[in-house]
Amino acid sequence: MIPTISATALSRRYRDQIALDDVSLTIEPGTVTGLLGRNGAGKTTLMRIVTGLEFPTAGDLRVFGEVPAENDAVLRRMVFVREEQVYPDFQVRHAIRVASWFYPNWSEDLAGQLMADFAIPPRRRIKRLSRGMRSAVGIVIGLAARAELTLFDEPYAGLDAVARQLFYDRLLAEFAEHPRTIVLSTHLIDEVADLLEHVVMLDHGRVVLDAPADDVRGTGMTVSGPATAVEEFVAGRTVWHRQRLGSRASVTVADSLDFAEQAKARAMNLSLEPLSLQQLLVHAAGVSADEKVSA
């Protein structure tokens, strides 16, 4: 099967910075992939190259097996919803109508339902909408397009927690009923963690993690308890983070622990706490949680 997206040694340099550095990855059809990383990690640049908005400096990028830039046959099969999308000075309903012309699978019903869900006033000029409402317009178009490849880049600037949950629910329902390839870039990692099937993490333009979400979950445990027991237990393991308070220690290890190991830890009176996806990615990026908090 042809991967929906495949990048090989892809790089994008600007005059004084490297946005993407030797990125190689594949995204399989019919999956929900989380494109994660800190601000400036290269997520947006990658999505811009995928959608033909930007050109690579080196390397190869293919979508549906073809180079996407200026390739109508490929471009028309995708929709790119991004933060701060620029719209012409027209009303919401105009944007929706125009979008419907370009997508053969466009669902008028879904668009109408989503408009109602997010309470978007159809006759309001887009530039007069609040930030959150403008984001919602992008979400409506992105979902109703039912494009084979749907890319969301921080699609919910200004949306509150309730509206974001609505987005996740609709996204899941749509994905279940009309499977497509979805790439979701966000820094609200724990919110989307369970929706993802695959996780790609970028840091300083490089891929630092590219794995099925199920494999990522459960990698990384924080072991805490009496310092001597903790140190005995973690000996020989990859340690990400180490903390001590008096005679107690708390050590984060990179490995996943099987059932026997977990039982052994409990027998040693150690407590185990799995890392959330967010914590994991913080470690994967080589930045300890404490540093990030104090940064």
Binding site: L172, L195, D214, R217, A263, R266, A267, S276
Partner: protein, 127 residues
């Protein structure tokens, strides 16, 4: 939404929860198992993850596919799951309990009487 616990892979947790329902009879033998999409919507997880969870049960023969209709709890599933869980009972529940009892210097007789009956809830020290 029922909270899913981190640590173990999500699909394993889905399988566990369905197995729980089968063991306590909420999902009777022959009953239809929720579809992948229903599970995905309920737990707010990726449908592929839900499918993986159900497939664990299918592989164990606890759930069976009926083409074109859906997934159903297999005959004998409840007993099969119980048997499996009985085997794991000792290491999952008894071993940790004994370890803790040992730490607290609760001897075996006290432990047994604690299990046997009420009146010992004050931590094993005789009234």
């Amino acid at each position: 939404m029922p909270a899913l616990d981190d640590g173990t892979p999500l699909f394993v947790q889905i399988a566990e929860q369905l197995a729980d329902d089968i063991v306590d009879g909420t999902l009777a033998e022959g009953a239809r198992v929720p579809s992948t999409n229903e599970l995905a919507a309920f737990y707010r997880i990726n449908p592929a993850t839900a499918a993986k969870g159900i497939n664990l049960l299918v592989d164990d023969g606890v759930v069976e596919k009926r083409r074109g209709i859906g997934m159903f709890v297999a005959a004998g599933a409840q007993e099969q799951l119980r048997a499996g869980r009985r085997k794991r009972f000792a290491e999952q529940y008894v071993d940790p309990m004994l370890a803790e009892a040992n730490r607290l210097r609760i001897d075996t007789d006290t432990l047994v009487s604690l299990i046997r009956g009420p009146g010992w809830h004050n931590g094993g020290s005789r009234p």
